[in-house]
């Protein structure tokens, strides 16, 4: 019983971190219809930026989010402008797959050039600190990461739902031609949206870097998880991806603690498969009228 509860606590905290990583992915994939295979690479890039700030300037990894976020935002805007924008055709969704994959490779290439491919890790003094709460261990970094992810997700949600910019982003994706007719600068909106997605990777990156050892190739593992979280949650539903991330975190953690780690991802995939077969739109995907 103790082990089970501990596993659930761990799962929820880990799920929070995945939610943070997936939020940008949800934004870009679900809302902008760009399958961003580079989101994992962005997270790793964010981790390296944090790492550099930490090692070179002794900056606290959580504090450095204030620097890395705007930086990654600019990176995102620049990349969208240079690489995604020219794909002005009907199936951006599919073509972006290629471009962002190349982007991921490119980021990996540059990172392995700039840093080594050895596994690194961001180790602030408190990295392994944990509280004992009625006999259960709650790790500080995970807890902060969880809190941070809730904050970032809430901000993201409000930006999308309540601001003019958010409406412009959604409008551009749902009907680019009419958005243009209403005076939305689709190019700028998409660039900013992509930038926003990349910016969330910055905060995710610093957390990821404290929790896991990483190298430039770490993005491969990340991306498949992020995609599954986003799809399980229901494309574009930020709330859905939070729930999906938590489901994934808890399922993996409980199965690996109680049964076997070998079957933990397996179980998760089976759950994913079942959910999608019963609800092809994911947990929270809305059913639309479509062309009927």
């Amino acid at each position: 019983m103790h082990a089970l509860i501990q596993a659930i606590i761990l799962g929820i905290l880990t799920g929070g971190v995945y939610a943070l990583m997936a939020s940008g992915q949800t934004l870009i994939f679900g809302i902008m219809k760009v399958v961003n295979l580079a989101q994992g690479a962005f997270v790793v890039l964010g981790a390296y930026l944090t790492y550099t700030l930490f090692v070179q300037f002794g900056m606290d990894p959580f504090a450095s989010v204030l620097i890395t976020t705007p930086l990654m935002f600019l990176v995102g805007v620049g990349l969208q402008w240079a690489l995604i924008r020219p794909l002005h055709s009907d199936d951006v969704a599919q073509l972006s797959l290629l471009v962002t994959f190349a982007l991921a490779l490119g980021v990996e290439g540059i990172l392995s050039f700039a840093y080594s491919t050895t596994l690194t890790n961001i180790q602030p003094k408190y990295a392994n600190f944990s509280w004992t709460v009625v006999g259960y261990q709650v790790n500080l970094v995970r807890f902060c990461a969880f809190a941070l992810s809730l904050v970032v997700l809430a901000v993201l949600y409000l930006v999308l739902k309540r601001t003019k910019f958010g409406r412009a982003v959604r409008a551009t994706v749902q009907n680019p031609m009419s958005a243009q007719l209403l005076g939305v600068n689709a190019q700028r909106v998409s660039a900013l949206g992509f930038g926003l997605g990349a910016a969330t990777a910055a905060s995710a990156g610093s957390v990821f870097g404290m929790l896991n050892a990483f190298n430039p190739g770490s993005h491969y593992d990340l991306i498949s998880r992020l995609l599954t979280v986003v799809v399980l949650g229901g494309l574009g539903s930020i709330g859905g991806s939070v729930v999906a991330a938590l489901v994934m975190g808890v399922a993996s953690s409980v199965v690996s603690a109680m049964a076997s780690p070998i079957w933990s991802d397996f179980t998760f995939f089976i759950v994913l498969l079942l959910v999608l077969l019963l609800r092809p739109r994911g947990l929270f995907g809305a059913r639309t009228r479509g062309a009927l």
Binding site: H2, A3, Q6, A7, L10, G11, T14, S112, S116, T117, T118, L119, N121, Q123, A127, N128, F129, S130, T132, Q137, N139, L211, N212, A213, N215, G217, D221, S252, S253, V254, S256, A257, M258, S260, P261, I262, S264, D265
Partner: protein
């Protein structure tokens, strides 16, 4: 294009050695360590006049940790670049397909980093693994040590967390077999897949089982993750052995902080304080070429360097460096290298034993077998620093 490095010392063309390494992809950090070892050896060898008067010229290509590319690379090296000799890549997974290509073309295959059972199961006679024993026997020395303890001091219960890859889990399996035979009860036994980044659920499971000794059948990254999870979950076993990771004098303290290293066991064939002759010179040459300090040298570099040493020794003994001679010569006798004196059975499996090391006072020290020990092992393990 079969074995082309013909005998004559009169031949003054450079001796071309082809190597495919994982400079990118999953195995790249070790791949690059191997690269440094090879490069250092070539430089040292060339300073002393090369091999039989021929300059050593390395042709190192990247296989991106992919089996297709490794096949392509060795085929290219042998049939297109027409190298005289090939050395092995990093990891057994790539060594198997690579050694088949080499064997097909009659090349000897001295390889520093492919010691999994599948490598030797091929029963290739051109293959020589440059480490003291098969990788899967890396933990035997820890079992020897534990079982050498008086019965009352031995652990009663053990937990095993094993990474599912050909050279990690089997190390723990071999220890487990011996422990169970000696009556040490298994209270936790799990294998986890290689993409498991988060070790906390597993460690939570171990902590719940309260074992005396924890055996990690690990690679580097997951070993660090296991230990970090133990610190976070405040679980401290009496003995802790990690098959890989804890034996890295540089990366390990960097990953878990030096204070947390105390008392962790590992096994190794070469490390900075190794007493084997030639080691000191290797270290000083290495630092002169690549900088850094002795503790940052990956044993893989020493193993790769040793592969070169073997070639030099064969040349010195026979006056020839053709592949047939290498194969025939290495199969007979015992050969001194940085990782000890090596000899092989017919399948290329080495017949030696690893060293048991432990972190004591912030340093990695040999603690077993007694004849080479620098210090005596400490048990139980001191508590985590946090």
């Amino acid at each position: 294009a079969a074995a082309s490095g013909t005998s004559s010392a009169a031949n003054s063309a450079p001796l071309k050695i082809g190597i495919s390494l994982s400079l990118t992809g999953d195995f790249s950090s070790s791949g690059k360590a191997a690269q440094r070892g090879y490069q250092l050896w070539a430089e040292v060898a060339n300073k002393s006049g090369g091999i039989l008067g021929r300059k050593v010229q390395l042709d190192i290509v990247d296989d991106a940790s992919s089996p297709d590319q490794v096949v392509t690379n060795y085929t290219n090296l042998i049939t297109q670049t027409k190298v005289d000799i090939v050395f092995g890549p990093f990891s057994s997974l790539l060594t198997v397909p690579a050694s088949r290509v080499a064997s097909r073309y009659g090349y000897s295959f001295i390889e520093p980093a492919g010691g999994g059972p599948s490598v030797f199961d091929q029963k290739l006679n051109n293959l020589f693994f440059v480490q003291p024993a098969e990788s899967t026997r890396g933990g035997d020395v820890f079992a020897n040590y534990i079982l050498s303890l008086p019965a009352g001091q031995r652990p009663k219960t053990a937990a095993y967390a094993k990474l599912d890859d050909p050279f990690s889990a089997p190390i723990a399996d071999n220890i487990q077999k011996r422990f169970e035979a000696a009556g040490i009860k298994t209270v936790y036994d799990q294998t986890y897949p290689s993409e498991t980044a988060d070790m906390t659920p597993i460690v939570a499971g171990i902590a719940a089982a309260k074992p005396d000794v924890v055996i990690g059948g690990t690679q580097e990254g997951d070993a660090f993750a296991q230990i970090k999870a133990m610190i976070q979950l405040k679980f401290n076993p009496k003995w802790l052995y990690e098959a890989n990771g804890s034996n890295s004098p540089g990366d390990f303290p960097a990953a878990v902080s030096l204070a947390n290293t105390a008392g962790v066991f590992g096994s190794i064939d070469w490390y900075a304080d190794s007493t084997i002759s030639g080691s000191a010179k290797f270290i000083s040459d290495y630092i002169a070429k690549f900088g850094g300090d002795a503790n940052q040298i990956d044993p893989t570099s020493a193993e790769a360097y040793s592969a070169g040493m073997l070639l030099q020794e064969v040349a010195a003994k026979t006056g020839k460096v053709d592949n047939a001679t290498i194969i025939k010569t290495l199969h007979a006798g015992t050969w001194p290298t940085l990782v000890g004196n090596l000899s092989w059975d017919a399948t290329g499996k080495p017949k030696g034993e690893y060293l048991l090391v432990q972190w004591i006072n912030g340093k990695l020290q040999t603690v077993y077998p007694a004849k080479t020990a620098q210090a005596s092992p400490i048990a139980p393990k001191p508590n985590w620093a946090g």
